[in-house]
């Protein structure tokens, strides 16, 4: 990853820019605020056990911690992705605490500075903003909203 300090942007511009991590899921790119990201790790063994949380695939062991693997491709792309190259370890905020979760991604990630545009009223709850990068408009993801289970009723409506 390229660190934010390596970008050497003018100070007046840096004030308006925020660090985001660009990730790839299939043929699409998304962004997450860099302060919510811990690290990018190679896929490791996933441990599965019975549960009923449809967006959780299982757990991985990382530095002695047990980290849940949350499937987000289905919500973002409408399909599951089997080709996984990395897990992006992200901080997921809950009502009273924050916990690490692993998001499967299909390509290397990149740290950039970008100006984040606020989301529109019609944007999905998991969109916390937009950035423009390399001629593309990219969704900035709200990790908490993205990994909140969708109720069957809401799913049917969408």
């Amino acid at each position: 990853m390229t660190s934010a300090s390596q970008l050497e942007l003018p100070s007046e511009l840096q004030q308006e820019l925020q660090s985001v991590v660009l990730l790839r899921l299939g043929d699409r790119r998304f962004a997450i605020a860099a302060n919510q990201i811990s690290e990018l790790v190679a896929p490791s063994r996933i441990f599965r056990f019975p549960h009923r949380s449809s967006n959780v695939e299982g757990v991985i062991l990382r530095r002695g911690r047990i980290v849940p693997v949350c499937e987000v491709a289905e919500r973002l792309l409408g399909k599951r992705i089997l080709d996984r190259r990395f897990y992006l370890i992200a901080l997921r905020r809950y009502a009273s605490q924050s916990e690490w979760i692993a998001l499967p991604v299909t390509g290397e990630c990149e740290l950039i500075n970008a100006e984040i545009t606020a989301p529109g009223e019609d944007d999905a709850p998991h969109v916390s903003g937009w950035i423009s990068h390399d001629g593309n408009v990219i969704e900035v993801l709200n990790v908490a909203a993205l990994t909140t289970p969708v109720s069957p009723v809401a799913e049917a409506r969408s």
Partner: protein, 181 residues
């Protein structure tokens, strides 16, 4: 930001656990929660069938120490492929007898991690947490998590209904006015 190594607990307290399999999946339970392990064969005559309770995972009840225990089929509870259970855990301080495939081994755990909040379904009741053993993650079941209060209510009602029917049959008279056998 980097995922910090898990801070070491001030004092690691070891807990004896039993690793067991249900429907091919591996689970752990505190050995302090298991009062007795019985073979299914040894319960053949003691278990009474329960019908029409609406709780599919419970088909039998056991009378034990003036208490009715309900035999929970572990594979059905966890929605796993059905396997013929061979052993039953009688659990302390619950009304659950858990039907399992087999015991894998007894061992000890030194750390129990709370179930991550990403798990938001009934598994939050099923498990006390997760533990890492030999580079494997094993869910540690909660003895109280197999039957909810509502399920116990329905099961008690089914047992009471069955008992009432049996009493009625025993008190019924034949057309000749003699007690029915």
């Amino acid at each position: 930001m980097r995922l910090a190594p898990r801070p070491k607990p001030a004092a690691l307290k070891s807990e004896q656990i039993i690793l067991f399999r249900v429907g091919g999946a591996l689970f752990a339970i505190s050995s302090a929660s298991v009062q007795e392990v019985k073979s299914v064969d040894s319960l053949a005559g003691a278990a009474a069938e329960i019908k029409n309770s609406g709780i599919k995972k419970v088909r039998h009840a056991l009378e034990r120490d003036d208490q009715t225990l309900f035999v929970v089929n572990g594979t059905m509870h966890f929605s796993l492929p059905l396997t013929p259970g061979t052993l039953v855990f009688i659990l302390y301080e619950t009304r659950t007898a858990l039907l399992i495939d087999r015991i894998e081994k007894m061992t000890s755990m030194t750390h129990l991690q709370a179930l991550p909040s990403a798990f938001s379904g009934p598994e939050r009741l099923w498990y006390r947490g997760l533990t890492a053993l030999d580079q494997t993650v094993v869910p540690v079941v909660s003895p109280d998590g197999f039957l909810t209060a509502d399920e116990l209510f329905l099961l008690d009602a089914a047992v009471a209904e069955k008992s009432a029917l049996q009493n009625a049959a025993a008190n019924a008279l034949t057309p000749q006015g003699e007690p029915a056998k």
